[in-house]
Symmetry: C2
Subunit: 337 residues, 2 copies
């Protein structure tokens, strides 16, 4: 009797030790009467077609012996970050760039006379409105390069310690979408490996990916600058040239380089047409796949913004991708902590 107890405890502690990063299962067994207890894996999603479609897909592809079964090593799920896992009005990347400008100008005041620093210091929005993506990339290059990786990482960590989200005055961590955190956990508890595939720079997202999303650094694919190994410093140096721009058609390229196979589950958002190529690429998988697109139509709880040409929603309709109607499908939007 006592041996059996020890055996159970040994198994249990071994299980807890080996799998402490695993999430809860949807069906758990009550040890008292061996009955199955079903737990809603997506409590912040309203019941409806979309929620049932997600669950039906996961159940179908994890059912051994089913023709739709996908072996675990091919259960790859990719999520965009800005506008998909957290809010993007404004981009956190932009907040970080402004923070870097502040720090760089404090250290070297003459920078305040030089673009793009000048525009930030003088709060000249028109510089970035006129300049578009190009001006933003210029700002990011000026503030994100010229250091070693170690120095850059320290600077990103310092930023996230106190960063507040404009307009909402809450810590950046609280602009994560609660329903998406549940979806990530649900997928992982069903053997999926979850990746972030972001247009943002890879190190900025890596600094918070484990803490914010339970996603390890090496499962983040993003925009990167050129690196060079400096033998004397024994460090990787960031150079002021773009290596890979991981948006739009860049996403399948980043996925191939970092992951080496097409995702079976891909999730992006409308707003900047950044995820169409990734969702389409995922649909080319030889296994049954699932595409999901966040529609930002909730001006009260989040933001409401649409692409002028509706490219993402049109692609979704044409290719039968699933669309998250934020207003209707999400019981709550942001995470509490």
């Amino acid at each position: 009797m006592i041996y059996r107890k020890i055996y159970v405890l040994t198994l249990l502690s071994f299980f807890l030790f080996s799998c402490k990063n695993k999430s809860e299962e949807t069906t758990i067994v009550n040890p008292k009467d061996n009955s199955a207890v079903t737990v809603d894996p997506l409590p912040s999603w309203n019941d409806g077609t979309l929620k049932s479609d997600i669950i039906a897909y996961v159940e179908k592809i994890t059912k051994k012996g089913s023709p739709d079964f996908i072996p675990e090593e091919h259960r790859i799920a990719t999520f965009d970050n800005d506008g998909t896992l957290w809010a993007e009005k404004p981009y956190v990347q932009e907040l970080f760039a402004f923070y870097r400008v502040k720090k760089m100008v404090e250290a070297k005041p003459e920078l305040a006379q030089k673009q793009p620093f000048k525009a930030v210091v003088e709060k000249d929005k028109s510089f970035f409105e006129k300049g578009g993506d190009k001006a933003l990339i210029e700002l990011v290059a000026a503030t994100h390069t010229g250091t070693t990786e170690d120095e850059f990482e320290t600077s990103v960590n310092d930023f996230f310690k106190d960063a507040k989200y404009p307009g909402k005055n809450i810590p950046v961590k609280q602009i994560r979408y609660q329903p998406q955190l549940e979806l990530l956990n649900y997928l992982r508890s069903n053997g999926f490996k979850t990746f972030i595939v972001t247009g943002g720079t890879i190190e900025v997202v890596r600094a918070i990916s484990e803490d914010f999303y339970g996603i390890p650094k090496e499962q983040v694919v993003g925009t990167s600058f050129k690196y060079k190994y400096d033998d004397e410093k024994n460090a990787v140096q960031r150079e002021a040239a773009l290596n890979h721009y991981n948006d739009k058609e860049g996403k399948p390229v980043g996925i191939q380089l970092h992951i080496g196979q097409r995702p079976v589950f891909a999730c992006g958002n409308e707003g900047g047409a950044g995820d169409i190529a990734m969702l389409k690429y995922s649909q080319g998988n030889k296994y049954p796949s699932f595409q999901l697109l966040v529609n930002h139509n909730d001006s009260i709880r989040e933001y409401s913004y649409q692409e002028k040409d509706n490219a993402s929603l049109n692609a979704a309709a044409k290719n039968k991708w699933h669309v998250i109607d934020m207003k209707k499908d999400w019981k709550k939007v942001f995470s509490d902590n």
Copy 2:
């Protein structure tokens, strides 16, 4: 009683389901009398200083509360492939390139008149001896690009199905080093994430990484060609230009891009001085780290070859890296299956 049995079985099956890729532990508990049974995690390593140093390191950094403890997310181990995990006389990559030449010439016979195809068809070794690394890269570029990723993957899989290793006439799988397979398992069972960081092209190694080494595709870092997303084909196309050459100083760069942090455990080999930068980079980790270098000094069971300037062994001596004396430290060299 019966409930307790069901409970045990439920826990056990849940554990097996959740952790089926985990390796055996070094200390297991005998359920009959709760005694600890110690199993040698490295049976193909001869007892001696090196084996005890490896085990002492792993025990020290996994001991909670110890000043040397490393959190799991930072237990990153990187292994070179050619000459470190399997034999490199010749490179498997070269065999694959020859196989591709054969297939390409079969499809288009006029290629046999063109270099580097001509040299392969005519078995003109001097072309590659004279041309060195440059000629090899030229051959690899000519045989590894111009297809989609999907087509290339099929071709790699076809090659590995029947590939035999020259001189030994055994399947390529059997040129893996048995002691290293045990080391990979041992590290993983202690919470390490294991990566391959190879000078070889990333997709060739990814084709066998899971089956040969238990390492998933996304944990392979290697040399890559430029990719382009082809919207019409909905596929990633390989272009005839190098994207990243993952050898020597390229290794820390590849590690930063794919993994995002310095390894704490790094293993390479002498022979081409390809791993010095990776081992040095790993030693710059803020956590206690371990560097390991295979010395190919076993002309009877494997091959014996040394660098002319002894650069790798000199670096090992200078930086106190651990050297595997193949003749002395390995009880057996190759895997049986």
